[in-house]
């Protein structure tokens, strides 16, 4: 019996909106809206991300896979080899009363990106889609961006020995394809598209939830006038940001530069003057003492 060739009727990575497939001179900013209320914790996004970006497994990837042992969350954090992380928040105050919150975390592609601000090699760039990408051939692994990120997103990838994170599938979006994670998401918890459209959709969803009785529903990072000029990957949450392991008030690292620089400059001037004056005084005392001896 000969080999039968199956006809291709559809591609899993089919082009999305034509507006993105054939970008004009300046494409519209794109990103993710993640509705955490419909995340089922299946981790399809994690798997799709790893497969498309050829990221290694954690640990040695073989017989000694690292398990957290305390949760269904075994990824535990975003890292150089895990660019998607489904967080599991178990809220069970009573045995039969409680809820599971789930949230697929990823780089926020901040409009004012702290990592991009501090990078001393110019490895971190903003793309034409307003997303933030680390160029692996430029990064030298100084790790400045790791401490600068207010969300703990970036880490060293120990295969490339450079800092790495989600690229918002630049290689896919630049040819009009949807990022691997949102493509794989079975509940549309992760939605990809132009930011302006996503904001409208997200606001409508938050209103709908509040009308249905989930009064805690709100959008995290959707406000362009909010922290960091808004996030190009924003979230619908139903609890405090800290419960999801997110900072309430993310800031730019440069906020301390002026004050810190001014204090250090004042300190330097004081030290130099005090040093010069006391040294001069010490020498004058010596000269005066030797003059007395001669007299």
């Amino acid at each position: 019996m000969g080999t039968r060739v199956l006809p291709i009727v559809a591609q899993s990575a089919a082009p999305i909106a034509p507006r993105i497939a054939q970008p004009s001179s300046k494409p519209e900013p794109t990103g993710f809206f993640t509705d955490t209320t419909i995340c089922i914790g299946c981790k399809a996004c994690e798997v799709a991300c790893k497969e498309w970006n050829q990221l290694p497994a954690r640990g040695d990837g073989g017989a000694h896979l690292e398990m957290s042992g305390q949760s269904y969350d075994n990824t535990l954090r975003l890292s150089g080899d895990s660019w998607r992380h489904v967080k599991f928040i178990e809220q069970f105050p009573e045995p039969y009363e409680g809820r599971w919150l789930m949230m697929s975390d990823v780089c926020k592609h901040c409009v004012q990106a702290p990592c991009l601000e501090v990078c001393p090699t110019g490895a971190i760039i903003r793309t034409e889609f307003d997303t933030v990408v680390i160029q692996s051939d430029t990064c030298n692994g100084c790790r400045d961006c790791i401490g600068a990120c207010p969300f703990g997103v970036i880490d060293i990838n120990h295969v490339s020995n450079t800092a790495q994170k989600c690229t918002l599938c630049y290689d896919r979006t630049s040819v009009g394809l949807e990022p691997a994670c949102s493509k794989a998401c079975p509940t549309d918890s992760i939605q990809f598209g132009p930011i302006s459209e996503l904001r409208v959709r997200a606001e409508a969803r938050a209103v709908q939830l509040r009308e249905q009785g989930e009064t805690r529903a709100y959008l995290y990072g959707a406000d362009p006038n909010g922290p960091l000029g808004g996030l190009n990957s924003f979230y619908l949450l139903v609890d405090e940001p800290e419960v999801y392991g997110l900072p309430r008030d993310p800031k730019l690292p440069s906020r301390n530069n002026t004050k810190g620089g001014l204090l250090s400059t004042i300190g330097s001037v004081v030290l130099a003057f005090v040093g010069a004056l006391t040294l001069r005084a010490s020498r004058m005392r010596e000269v005066s003492a030797s003059t007395h001896v001669e007299e």
Binding site: S71, N140, C142, E240, N256, G267, E286
Partner: protein
């Protein structure tokens, strides 16, 4: 309660660790030493040449060691040059608003002044080959000596102080919750360089001179300023001070503040004080300060959604 934690606690550590602790310590001593060499050259006595020599050599050694430590610390060390030259365009790489980029250029300029200072201080030494001495002698022209001294003071102080600003320009707990870290590191660096110079001159058997008295007196002024800035730093932390509510806080109090600042201050106030004990205490305190500041913050991390410290 996790909801009361500052936003900086929900971040990942850059894992700077021991290499960077050592760099901050060595670089601080080098920066302070070059400043002292410049001050002694401009306002000191002709007999201070031995001190200038020691301070210049200390700064040159610190420049070389600092460069090596920083390169070794990179995850891709062979790409160290990407810090100063853009790999795609081969144009200079400089971002004035990035303290790490500033620091790379500060270290380069500092290294040039440290080399010049060392060359100036050894120009009349007998074992320096004549052709080299002839070239170096150009550096001893009065105008160049003044430029070297002023440049050494400025670049030395910049190297001593930028490291704290670098840590503050992150989003990590405690480092970025205060703007006082730069000036704290600056004062600690100058204090440790004074201690290193006192210790080295003692070992080199440089005679008991008024300059040694000045070094000890200047060290005490620096220690008082450091204590005041330490208090301002701790108060400015607010909620983020909880990173010190553990063994690190005990080490900060006993190792840095008591043993590294208060005790050497009182020993050096006595007219007949020895050199070695207070100098060693100041050096140990300076090293512990950098250790506590870096490792106590790096102990904070997020597992799943929980902040662990």
């Amino acid at each position: 309660m996790q909801t009361s934690l500052p936003s900086t606690f929900f971040t990942a550590s850059p894992d700077y660790g021991w290499i960077i602790i050592l760099y901050f310590f060595v670089g601080g001593i080098g920066g302070g030493a070059l400043m002292l060499a410049g001050l002694l050259r401009m306002f000191g006595r002709p007999e201070d040449r031995a001190y200038i020599q020691i301070a210049s050599v200390l700064s040159l050694i610190a420049a070389v060691v600092s460069g090596i430590l920083l390169i070794v610390d990179l995850s891709s060390p062979l790409r160290f040059w990407h810090m100063v030259i853009q790999n795609h365009t081969l144009l200079p790489m400089f971002k004035w608003w990035s303290p790490m980029s500033d620091g790379v250029w500060i270290l380069l300029v500092f290294s040039a002044f440290a080399t010049g200072a060392a060359a100036q201080s050894f120009v009349d030494v007998a074992w320096v080959p004549k052709p080299i001495a002839r070239i170096v002698r150009v550096l001893t022209m009065p105008a160049l000596v003044t430029v070297g001294a002023l440049g050494g003071i400025a670049s030395g102080l910049a190297l001593a102080g930028y490291t704290g600003i670098l840590l503050a320009a992150t989003n990590r707990p405690m480092w970025s919750d205060s703007a006082w870290l730069g000036v704290l590191f600056l004062l600690s660096a100058v204090s440790t360089s004074l201690a290193a110079l006192l210790l080295a001159s003692h070992w080199r058997r440089v005679g008991e001179t008024p300059t040694r008295e000045w070094l000890a007196r200047f060290d005490n002024i620096t220690l008082v300023l450091e204590l005041a800035v330490m208090a301002a730093f701790l108060v400015s932390l607010g909620n983020a001070a909880i990173v010190f509510f553990n063994g690190w806080g005990v080490l900060l109090l006993l190792g840095v503040i008591i043993a590294g600042i208060v005790v050497p201050f009182f020993i050096q106030r006595r007219p007949s004080h020895g050199v070695v004990l207070p100098a060693v205490l100041v050096l140990v305190g300076g090293f512990l300060l950098r250790t506590v500041i870096i490792l106590s913050s790096e102990a904070v991390h997020v597992v799943g959604t929980q902040v662990v410290r």
